[in-house]
Symmetry: C2
Subunit: 418 residues, 2 copies
């Protein structure tokens, strides 16, 4: 990789010029715990915008409404909440999402379709609008620069930490910034994860080019991660570009490649943070497939290994079990030839030509005790590659996800669903 | 369903006339624990035979050799071991599997390709032929009627119990029997499970018809089950038919439908026993999809729900979480329309038209505390159906599968790989 032309900066989602934010606590999850759960990000300048959304056939109301708004034009405000996904909530859910956008737009003096809406939390529970609605005016009026970290806090759910990445680089002597925040820890599967990612840049980028840059960036980041193989109803990645840096960027022109590289760095950084913060898991594992006859086969094999319960369980136990890896290679691939498969675990040969390699098991085992390692699978059938970032599967993950029932029931009793 | 024309009988895999068996303990897993681990089933009469095998691209040596032998003609003996899968063992593994068949054939005075071989256990470890070879003569010489239960014991691994199903029915006043034994508890996924199933009937059935009856039976049984979504390298289902009952059966002739129904009952009974004995799991769940636009969509949705880690975790917690079920319906299906999806949990409406139904959550929750229940998903888009039998995902499953390393390492130190 060439030397990086960008550097990391602080400031999270509002690191770029011309962005303000605010977050409040509505008690969406639990009125007794005053944690931030409703956030707003706003560009003080007009923007272009782009978005990539879940491909789940069951889509949250917020995803449906944001997609509609983005088809009509550009958004320059994003309202987001945690604690309730506004998914499987029917027409009432759509009306709630629209009402949130409309109230924000009235306060800010913009059009309703200039507002996007994101929700994350429990599926199937009506949104507690009795708690959200009275706070929207305050949310809008408190908008200020330098408060990006509050947004990162307000959108997380089972995450154990905020996820912020921001970078800057120079084009023609002027500084361009890209800021972001992100959430996600469970229900994480390729295309895409249960995640919200907001990216704000002060470059000026034409809408179509922005969409293409985002699409490509997501393809190489959020579409390459899996924790539990479960694709969410709410995945949303949005980018706003407001031109406040005074730098105009376009494909083929000076600085474009730099912008795409920096955006890629931000998105991949966020995707990796999601995997590293996976619910109750203990390992960060890179599954790299090479030597595939085509990209589709490389992808099938990488995702198959990354999603195998038995492979993931063995990683949790620090067991360098190449037999389970090759068994998943065999059922996930369509053109695999067993006798050609090589597997390296953490840089050491574990399998050569479909049978055990010479590396002593103890040596492999010591390497798999690490928090992070790479599995390299060479199919030796061609030149295509694919990489997936994933985790182990832990008894604690299953235990953590055994029941949302107590929360659900409590929310109903507290009247939190209105 | 019409009244059953067959009745359950005892005797397991040797319940039918003209079959003998024997099992011995070679110490394949652990010389200190004298458990049965090598078994032989033999028809005293010539047979026709058929088999269905794993579609994993990585196939155990025993699968490759058995397939070759069955292409050449009919098999009338099956040698099977537990403790070592003879998978990913390269050319040496093939030679071992061939040597087992050749030694058995010499003892029995038949051709080597009249013997099929099955192995189940750890992948990637050489077969301990030093322990197996000296016992083969004894294995063959001890063949006797009424010892079917020993075979059922010898082939199980992480199973907690033997799996035997046998039935009899009458055709033209004569009794026909179908006996079987089976193993499987982990690495269980549709098409097919990590399982060995041996079926022996005393009907006479022409080879091609036998293959078709077996293929259809497996499609409706072993291809409909999943525990952990991991397809094995060793799956094998074999049927032998020796005509010892004096009854000839053929498609279109009297008794054929009865035979197919009885075979279906045996195979489905075995498939369900595998799921009920899933490694460290606590629930037996039937996922039935109806109203699909075509069978492929019904299958995608049923398998998607049955394989979802989050859905399975919620079942473990006794949580009637329809939100997670519909999220899996949405990512597994291609033509799902959210607003049409109905979900019943244990016979009660949980979701109607994509949103929560009226059944009180407490009532649903009580139903999901049971050891066994049905999830019925109606896509309301057509007339196709598909059913999958599955389990929850438990913290104990993950814990149980964390490490085979200790076993592996011990086996090497004990010289068990020779």
């Amino acid at each position: 990789m060439a030397e990086r032309v960008y550097k990391e900066i602080s400031g999270g989602v509002t690191a770029a010029k011309g962005y303000v934010s605010h977050a409040v606590s509505c008690g969406i999850k639990n009125p007794a715990v005053r944690r931030l759960d409703l956030a707003l990000v706003y560009s003080t300048e007009p923007t272009t915008s782009a978005g990539v959304f879940t491909t789940n056939r069951v889509k949250a109301a917020c995803v449906r409404v944001s997609k509609q708004h983005m088809r009509k034009g550009n958004v320059r405000a994003i309202i987001a909440n945690s604690g309730n996904a506004n998914a499987c909530t029917g027409r009432a859910g759509i009306e709630v999402a629209r009402r949130e956008c409309s109230m924000v737009s009235q306060e800010l003096g913009i059009q309703p379709n200039e507002v996007a809406v994101c929700s994350t939390g429990v599926i199937g529970l009506p949104m507690p609008m009795l708690r959200i609605e009275p706070r929207i005016a305050e949310l809008c009026r408190g908008l200020a620069a330098g408060r990006g970290h509050e947004v990162a806090s307000a959108i997380i759910t089972s995450d154990t930490r905020e996820k912020e990445v921001a970078v800057s680089f120079h084009v023609g002597g002027k500084e361009v910034r890209i800021g972001s925040c992100c959430k996600g820890a469970g229900m994480i599967s390729p295309c895409m994860a249960t995640m919200i990612c907001m990216v704000c840049t002060d470059a000026a980028v034409e809408r179509k080019a922005l969409q293409e840059a985002l699409r490509e960036g997501v393809e190489l980041s959020f579409n390459r991660i899996t924790i539990d193989g479960d694709m969410s109803t709410n995945d949303t990645c949005l980018i706003l570009a407001n031109g406040a840096s005074g730098v105009k960027l376009a494909p083929g022109r000076s600085g474009w490649k730099r912008f795409c590289e920096a955006l890629q760095y931000v998105l991949l950084g966020q995707a990796q943070r999601i995997v590293q913060d996976g619910e109750r898991v203990t390992k960060y594992v890179t599954v790299r497939v090479k030597g595939a006859p085509d990209r589709a086969e490389a992808k099938r094999v990488a995702e198959g290994v990354a999603k195998s319960s038995l492979v993931k369980s063995s990683w949790n136990g620090g067991d360098p079990n190449w037999g389970r890896i090759i068994h998943a290679v065999g059922y996930a691939g369509r053109r695999v030839r067993e006798e050609k498969v090589d597997i390296d675990i953490a840089g050491k040969p574990a399998c050569r030509g479909g049978v055990q390699a010479d590396t002593p098991s103890d040596e492999l085992r010591a390497l798999v005790q690490a928090d992070s390692f790479e599995i390299l699978i060479n199919l030796n059938l061609g030149k295509s590659e694919y990489t997936v970032y994933t985790t182990d599967l832990s008894p604690e993950y299953v235990d953590f996800n055994r029941s949302e029932y107590a929360y659900w029931n409590q929310a109903k009793q507290d009247g939190l669903t209105r």
